[in-house]
């Protein structure tokens, strides 16, 4: 039993390595810098046919073509940014996983932060308001009022006892 499990683990582990290095041997590079840039690019560029995959992970035809084109452009001496711009000019901003800073993308960050800030301000103002009420309470005035009430009650009681026991 233990033996079959360990065999299974070995098989599964080898499958993983086969998958992640599957297409690498097909691609040859002029120098290590080019290879590094190519690897960054295929992770950063997004497959336009797929919902959420970079072109390194996708096997769609368009992703294959984009990988080939990215390599070709690097071999022609284009910089990484030039390759990214080349793809964005054809497939739109969607094709890059680093969206530009504009009103729509700023809103994504600003709305949640603004909401939390608003809640904090509201809570703070509310707690300050309640402490103000506490301070405003005139304890001396209340005490005298209470004394007056107690006096009234005892007066009433005295009156009742005198009426019941004439």
């Amino acid at each position: 039993m233990m033996k079959s499990i360990s065999i299974l683990i070995v098989i599964l582990a080898s499958l993983v390595s086969v998958k992640s290095y599957g297409f690498d041997e097909m691609v040859t590079f002029d120098n290590p810098k080019q290879e590094a840039e190519y690897r960054e690019l295929i992770k950063e560029l997004r497959c336009p046919k797929c919902q959420n995959q970079n072109i390194a992970d996708s096997n769609a035809i368009v992703a294959k073509d984009m990988r080939a084109k990215a390599l070709l452009l690097l071999q022609e001496g284009k910089s990484k940014q030039q390759v990214v711009d080349y793809m964005i000019n054809r497939y739109g901003q969607f094709a890059h996983y680093r969206p530009p800073v504009n009103i729509a993308t700023i809103m994504l960050w600003a709305i949640p932060v603004g909401f939390i800030l608003m809640c904090i301000i509201l809570l703070w103002r509310r707690s300050r308001l309640s402490t103000q009420v506490d301070n405003a309470t005139d304890t001396a005035g209340l005490n005298s009022e209470l004394d007056n009430l107690l006096d009234e009650v005892s007066d009433l009681q005295n009156a009742e006892t005198t009426r019941n026991n004439p």
Binding site: Q51, I61, V62, D65, M66, N89, R90, Y91, G92, Q93
Partner: protein
């Protein structure tokens, strides 16, 4: 008065949230704005599908407004739009040119498209379902398709006589798409 307004704040936020989520529920995640509309049609030099000695280029394409349809016999949806494209060709006189998109051709993987076989398949299919095309540009390496931002087939472009792309539609062209999206642009085009 201030107190009453803040009472409605949660309801207000809720309504906005519901509106936002409803919009997401009914939107098509595959639909996105094309990056090539308004730009000049890319330069190319590609052979004709039926006659490889004949070469098409942007120069031969310019001068007349044209509907370019990216398609392939392997593409199921393309078969559904063939009758409709034939209809708009005959009824409205739309010039339709095919860009043949082959998905098997990958020389770096040792796979080559069988062009004579594709020619036979194309002829059979068009005889069966209708032939809207004036000719087909054979984009074997899919370089023109990449320049056009094509993600698959079918996709359709409208190009004016000056060679400017006026519309880009992903998916099939049917009665609804033509009436709502493409025909208004086509009729405005020079």
């Amino acid at each position: 008065m201030k107190y009453k307004l803040s009472l409605f704040l949660p309801l207000f936020i809720f309504v906005i949230l519901v509106g936002f989520l409803l919009k997401g529920l009914f939107s098509d995640p595959r639909q996105r704005d094309s990056a090539v509309v308004g730009k000049s049609f890319p330069e190319f030099q590609l052979p004709d599908l039926m006659n490889e000695e004949k070469v098409h280029s942007l120069q031969t394409l310019r001068g007349e407004k044209v509907l370019l349809n990216v398609w392939g016999t392997w593409c199921i949806t393309c078969k559904y739009e063939l009758p409709f494209l034939t209809k708009i060709k005959t009824e409205y006189g739309v010039k339709v040119v095919g860009i043949y998109y082959d998905q098997n051709h990958a020389p770096e993987f040792g796979q080559f498209a069988n062009i004579p076989q594709i020619q036979v398949e194309v002829k059979q299919l068009l005889a069966q379902l209708g032939d809207p095309y004036q000719f087909h540009i054979l984009d074997l390496d899919r370089t023109l398709s990449l320049d056009l931002g094509v993600t698959g087939a079918p996709e359709t472009f409208l190009m004016d006589s000056n060679g400017v792309i006026k519309a880009h539609h992903m998916g099939d062209v049917n009665e609804r798409v033509w009436r709502d999206k493409l025909a208004p642009i086509w009729n405005e085009m020079q």
